[in-house]
């Protein structure tokens, strides 16, 4: 009896979590364009989508911003995490404290302060400023994620490598990086998620020429959304879902290995 109640509750919450997405997927196949009642099945909106250059451009921008900021913040975050772990320098404590600011500060404050600095430096708002903003809020998450793995690794291993004549470069690329891989990957995944999910900071730091998908949808909500947006969202969701399935299968395999050990 208790089990049934628990499972029912889980189902209920998952329905709550998936409902707004399922509804958009459903309506992307709807013959009516009003998003009100499901009238019949069509792929018409998918065809429309490929004619809609504004939407496709916003999708392209979203992917560029997410891709570039994930790669850059993962590289910088990994280097920084190692630097902060290995070396001490003046002001290190301040750096460590400042790093948590993007994690805890309300996004809107980060958004408007970046906007103000861009204006101060006379940077024209566009893809570049948008990517820079995304890099800004992603780096600390990568550092935190890599650092948690760094603390667990055995420093004797790199000492041993050094005694055996490995150069610093060799130690970093052949020993440190492979050991940090789980942290680097989960940091990258986090950065990608945050970048794809962001609305608030993008809203202030993207110029008129750099509309991302959420910003496009935001402006369309006021004027009326066409169902080809639903089609685009459905395609993106499939993409994300496949990505997540792959990562879950990999993690489950690892879990299995740990259990069998």
């Amino acid at each position: 009896m208790k089990k049934i109640g628990e499972n029912l509750y889980l189902v209920l919450i998952f329905v709550f979590l998936f409902l707004p997405i399922l509804v958009l997927i459903l309506f992307s196949f709807n013959t009516s364009s009003l998003n009100i009642i499901f009238e019949g099945f069509t792929l018409h909106w998918y065809y429309d989508l490929f004619q809609n250059s504004t939407l496709l451009e916003s999708l392209f921008n979203t992917l560029i911003v997410a891709g570039v900021s994930t790669v850059v913040s993962t590289v910088i975050g990994t280097i920084s995490a190692y630097g902060l772990y290995k070396y001490s320098f003046k002001g290190k404590n301040i750096v460590n404290e400042l790093l948590y600011i993007p994690v805890v500060i309300p996004e809107i404050v980060l958004g408007i302060s970046l906007l103000s600095v861009y204006t101060l430096l006379q940077l024209e708002l566009g893809l570049f400023t948008l990517i820079l903003a995304h890099i800004c809020f992603c780096i600390p998450f990568v550092i935190i994620s890599v650092r948690s793995v760094l603390e667990g690794i055995d420093s004797h291993i790199s000492e041993a490598a050094s005694d055996l004549g490995a150069s610093r470069f060799q130690i970093f690329t052949k020993i440190i990086i492979p050991m940090l891989m789980p942290g680097i990957l989960s940091g990258a995944q986090l950065a990608l998620t945050l970048s794809l999910d962001d609305v608030v900071i993008s809203y202030f730091t993207a110029g008129p020429g750099a509309n991302t998908l959420p910003l496009q949808v935001y402006s369309m909500i006021k004027t009326g959304i066409t169902p080809d947006v639903n089609a685009l969202i459905t395609i993106m969701l499939c993409f994300v879902f496949v990505l997540l399935m792959v990562s879950t299968v990999v993690q489950l395999r690892r879990l299995k290995k740990e259990v069998s050990l």
């Binding site: 509750y9 009100i36 309300p106 879950t248 259990v259």
Partner: protein, 284 residues
């Protein structure tokens, strides 16, 4: 410079440049602007005035502050209420099932939050799916007002921020020793007693972490209030956004932002006082 120094330079330079240019500089600049004066044409006069901070205490703005804190508080409370039974139910499953269910929690989280708000708009509006279904079933005669009011805003906030409560609470709950729960029930404690005397104290770090990660963003998510509140409602996020983009009074917008940062700092100080660790916050 020898190779050792060069190597160190390579590892610490990026982070120093990053925190100075992309974190410290923007925040210091906002603090500076908040003491400037607006010229009412969208520009700023660089003087030193505390007028912007005095203006914040106008009754109109105080009520926005209170409303924001109220909405963020209710959202946090509802997220806690939903998350505890949820993570407890998940923790009773096999490890493999747990992993799959927690991944499923993350799936909607991977589509953009604004797009999910659009999904709620389709569901909640007068001619929306929920009202159509309920009227079709004959449960109600007239459509319910589920959005353009407080209900819509709270639904949107809880929905968007729920994963931030579920994730830390789940990792906290999975550290509770199951034998402790068994012992408690063997010794005759009721379910309620076990929950409040054992589970809650043992999961406090996750609870504080989640509350912080739900409460502070909820103060600023202007787009949720915009879409589901119908433009009449206003929280701090909307106020700051309007000052920067519509009214173009940057100094006043900056002053409100600084006050928002102060509120956030108080929450963080409380979190640290209660034993919370900063490095746990980014681990979601």
């Amino acid at each position: 410079m020898n190779s050792k120094k060069l190597w160190k330079f390579f590892f610490i330079c990026p982070v120093i440049i990053y925190v100075s240019l992309l974190i410290a500089l923007p925040l210091i600049y906002i603090l500076l602007i908040s003491f400037f004066q607006s010229d009412y044409y969208g520009g700023m006069i660089s003087t030193f005035t505390i007028q912007n901070y005095i203006d914040v205490f106008d009754q109109v703005y105080i009520s926005v502050f209170l409303k924001s804190i109220f909405i963020a508080g209710i959202t946090t409370f509802i997220c806690i209420l939903i998350s505890y039974p949820f993570v407890l139910a998940i923790s009773h499953k096999k490890p493999r099932t747990q992993k799959i269910l927690m991944t499923l929690v993350m799936v909607p989280f991977l589509t953009n939050s604004l797009i999910r708000m659009y999904g709620w708009l389709v569901l909640l509006r007068k001619s929306g799916v929920i009202n159509q279904v309920l009227m079709g079933l004959g449960v109600i005669q007239e459509p319910l007002s589920l959005m353009y009011n407080m209900i819509g805003i709270i639904i949107g906030m809880v929905y968007t921020l729920l994963p931030f409560m579920i994730l830390p609470l789940y990792s906290s709950v999975s550290t509770v020793d199951p034998y402790l729960l068994e012992a408690s029930s063997d010794l005759g404690a009721s379910k309620m007693k076990t929950f409040f005397k054992i589970i809650v104290p043992q999961t406090l770090p996750g609870l504080f972490n989640g509350s912080l990660m739900v409460f502070t963003p909820a103060l600023g998510y202007f787009f949720i209030v915009d879409i589901l509140g119908g433009g009449k409602m206003m929280i701090l996020g909307n106020l700051i956004k309007n000052q920067f983009l519509t009214a173009r009074n940057w100094p006043f917008g900056a002053a409100i932002s600084i006050v928002l940062v102060l509120i956030t700092s108080l929450v963080i100080i409380a979190y640290r006082k209660l034993g919370g660790k900063m490095e746990d916050l980014g681990g979601a």
